[in-house]
Subunit: 549 residues, 2 copies
């Protein structure tokens, strides 16, 4: 039997990681991270629990990457740090990975293998063919995995765009050939299953960008995802058309552009790019700037421009700022604030809600149906989505004719066993999420997050007192300090009154009472909690330090 074990991505957008297993051979498709949800206070990012790979490390033969987005490659350093296995991917994907592994000091110890679309790769009993797909990053692929029980297709992240800037159309013909050859199972991207119809073409985006730039009187500042090389190429082409110089600003853009140029994925005419320091030598209408911060990230170049704190770029009143990217849910407020501030600085701002300057990289419903119809799979398993996306994607597959009992609605950690005759899910392995905070991997769990939440909403009161060990007399305090609770200046009486509450308890519990300090501590906790809630309606964390000296 073929086994598929999703370690992440089936229950969230992010964390994509799928184990493929037959006999003695295991390989992994993608190793992605996820950015923390709002309740994960202080967490930098989240990776899948890779315990299953640790337990089966001797059988693990490699990791195949479908493309270079963080939700597909971001967990790779954490995998490779523990288990050194070969990495397979297309040239641009490996270019980005190389840069990442260098930062993690893992480059020398990792063997990387370039595979081009329509090329095949042998891993044990598997024959894995790369098939070009169009996505919002260059050099993405889907996989046709020929296994002893039949062919499994994994789409990667894809859409069916018919005009692209990078010439990287989804290889419809090859998917069709696979469909004719016979596909046992299709694993397909579910991100946009809620969206009717088709994605708009990048040509429309290009036309809209051209129109905006034609009308612009001053500088044009375009904010986008650093990895969207095709969009950057569009802007370069527009700059050439308008006779403008191009400036790249922001570290991630510079890295991404440098990798893409080196590998020939981005063509910038000689002499067109200038450095940010050379700006003063040009008029405003001779400049297009490409920058980051389209998600409202607080330290990004765009955020600093909008707040007037960018060292080199002050917004001018004839600047046109274009946010050529999606408003990712959760970021709308931050993005909205940046737009408001840019308007306050006098710039004109163009963004997704008022103009067609962005298109998703993920297929809409009609495109998802097309993938199903091209590959004609016997079984269908939606991947890359929250649970509702997976449910809706199975329904879509039902609509195009896949029988109900051939739909595999699986979740992270479930072991899907599959062959020509059917599939079954009989067991689960421990899948989950590991939170990364600073250098700590997995040491921030539910209890720490809960403490952080309470601290963040109610603040903290620390009480400090020392008692003479022999006499029980108070030799220090009560000293009360608060953080994140109230303005101490405005509420001096509040903390003074709290001191009285404490002293009353101390008086009440006479020195002859056994375990006196413990008794005082526990009564003090309760009394202060009640007092603060009565006085100000809050429940701060109370930390009493009562010591005997």
């Amino acid at each position: 039997m073929l086994k598929l074990v999703p370690l992440g991505g089936l229950g969230e957008i992010g964390l994509n990681m799928m184990v493929v297993e037959y006999g003695d051979t295991i390989f992994v498709i993608d190793a992605g991270l996820m950015f923390p949800e709002a309740y994960m206070l202080g967490v930098d990012y989240v990776i899948p629990d890779m315990d299953y790979l640790r337990q089966n490390r001797s059988r693990l033969s490699g990791v195949i990457l479908t493309h270079a987005h963080e939700d597909h490659i971001g967990a790779l350093p954490f995998l490779l740090r523990e288990i050194s296995i070969p990495v397979f991917g297309t040239p641009f994907t490996l270019g980005v990975v190389r840069h990442k592994l260098e930062e993690h000091d893992l480059l020398a110890s990792t063997s990387m293998h370039e595979v081009l679309p329509r090329e095949r790769l042998k891993i044990g009993p598997f024959d894995v063919e790369f098939i070009r797909v169009n996505h919002s990053i260059v050099d993405g692929v889907g996989l046709a995995i020929r296994t002893p029980v039949g062919m499994v297709i994994h789409t990667g992240d894809f859409k069916m765009s018919h005009t692209t800037m990078d010439g990287m159309l989804t290889d419809v013909n090859r998917f069709a050939q696979c469909g004719e050859e016979g596909v046992l199972a299709l694993l397909s991207d579910s991100t946009n299953v809620e969206k009717e119809g088709h994605t708009i073409s990048s040509q429309e985006i290009g036309n809209e960008l051209a129109r905006i730039t034609e009308a612009a009187k001053g500088r044009i500042i375009v904010a986008l995802f650093a990895s969207n090389i095709a969009r950057i190429q569009q802007i370069v082409n527009i700059a050439r058309m308008r006779g403008r110089k191009i400036v790249f600003n922001g570290r991630s853009i510079e890295v991404s552009v440098s990798i893409a140029r080196k590998l020939g994925y981005l063509n910038i005419p000689e002499g067109m790019e200038i450095d940010i320091d050379e700006l003063s030598g040009y008029l405003d209408d001779e400049i297009i700037m490409v920058t980051t911060g389209s998600q409202g990230e607080p330290m990004s170049a765009l955020s600093r421009m909008s707040a007037g704190t960018h060292k080199q770029i002050k917004i001018h009143s004839d600047d046109t700022v274009v946010l050529s990217s999606k408003f990712i849910p959760g970021n709308e407020k931050a993005i909205g604030n940046i737009i408001n501030n840019l308007y306050r600085q006098g710039a004109d701002v163009v963004y997704e809600k008022i103009s067609r300057i962005h298109v998703s990289g993920h297929a809409f419903r009609e495109e998802l149906k097309m993938m199903l119809n091209l590959t004609k799979p016997k079984f269908f398993m939606p991947v890359h989505g929250e649970y509702r996306h997976l449910v809706l994607h199975t329904r879509l597959a039902r609509e195009v004719g896949i029988p109900e009992d051939h739909l595999i609605l699986a979740q992270n950690g479930q072991v899907i066993e599959l062959d020509e005759n059917g599939f079954q899910i009989r067991s689960s392995i421990g899948a989950g999420r590991v939170l990364i905070d600073g250098k700590g991997i997995g040491d921030v769990g539910r209890s720490v997050l809960k403490e952080r939440r309470i601290l963040s909403e109610e603040g903290l009161v620390v009480v400090n007192m020392a008692f003479d060990e022999e006499t029980g007399i108070v030799v220090y305090g009560p000293d009360i300090v608060s953080r994140g609770f109230v303005f101490e200046t405005e509420t001096g009486h509040l903390l003074q009154d709290a001191q009285c509450v404490i002293l009353e308890i101390v008086e009440d519990v006479t020195p002859d009472v056994p375990n006196r300090v413990d008794k005082i501590r526990s009564r003090l906790q309760t009394a202060l909690r009640q007092y603060f809630f009565f006085a100000i309606g809050r429940r701060p964390v109370i930390l009493p330090f009562l010591v005997e000296v």
Copy 2:
């Protein structure tokens, strides 16, 4: 000169409050609150700074409410608690206000005056006419304010729906008559100025709801905003059509339904409503339930149903749950999680992204243009929006022919002076936001929020030590306690190593050093900060308590 002073709502969605002033008379339009933004940790809600009203309390003659949404009436108790003035509004608006003032113990001390659409109200030199507008709550109005310098129209929150369930169409004719009479200035709702075209009609929503309920095999559970009485009436009508009983669940729904029924805004046929405890007497396909929690609020009825923790309602596999409301930005993740969980429980879920079961209560661009063309104002001032909405709304007004220098792009706190000849903004009053946390009004400011943010992201380390006053010998500690920082069990060595760091400093600073404890405290801060960052990449708040006894 007429003065307009926005205290809130021009720079945010929420906090709506506009001062209208002529000679010795001041009145206020609306007194709204805003729900806290993500960075306002622990804050319950936000109200406008009302200092200007305090300073001018002797001239303050009343507050006129346009409708009963929280962003228009939520700050009323805070105003009335300090300054007792008459409140004017339509019957349903005052019904909701009455309930709210009762909770704040302000009902007896407040005089309330019902005004119906097309009725007029005299306040000093002002003649204020109420004009019916359609919105997502019943009994909303706009205002035609006749002043000594001309007529000012304030739209309130409105849209131009031509079919409604509540018969409360926007009174287009009356706005047209005002336009013919001559309008000095229009103040109009900017919320949806980013949206092209027209809002869809509530009839379409009704048809879609009817279609969904026809297909439903089991219970139908509709989640919506409690104040959306017209939508509730639609559902009641559908229940009648399908021969189902109706159950209201959730406190805010029950309050809202009770007010609306009492005032005749909601008609439920005799014997149709049943109590939640009577559910067991009916089959699933005999029930429609109306509930709250469409924004993913964690303690709401819907959230508890989705998590399987609702006491009375367990989700059945043939339940159809309809979220008949907008995904408010910032709430998408929470709403998404509820949908995922409902699917996991086996229910079918219908929501805005996949079905036309909600319509905004605010006019889209074509409707905004219509309001401009009906009233033909000399001057135009956008209200009710973030800064970008206000900018886009002035541009829209420019498109329909208002000259550039007749557009009033104002912000909170600016004093707009206006007469037949023109307007000027020469001064500002101190406008701002006041944060409410528990019973504390305004005592949570920037510094407390910053402390909460750091605590929430990095946690806290408290160090406790006592020194003998005479000898300098350590008589207690160092005792180290952390909260929200790391798992203490997993990182025991981390805190142990920190103890060593501290002891080294104590050894280093010999007892003869002047101000020894202060020196140790400050070196300890620095050393621990460096140590934790080096060891685990985090920067917790460090609170050292070093005392001499």
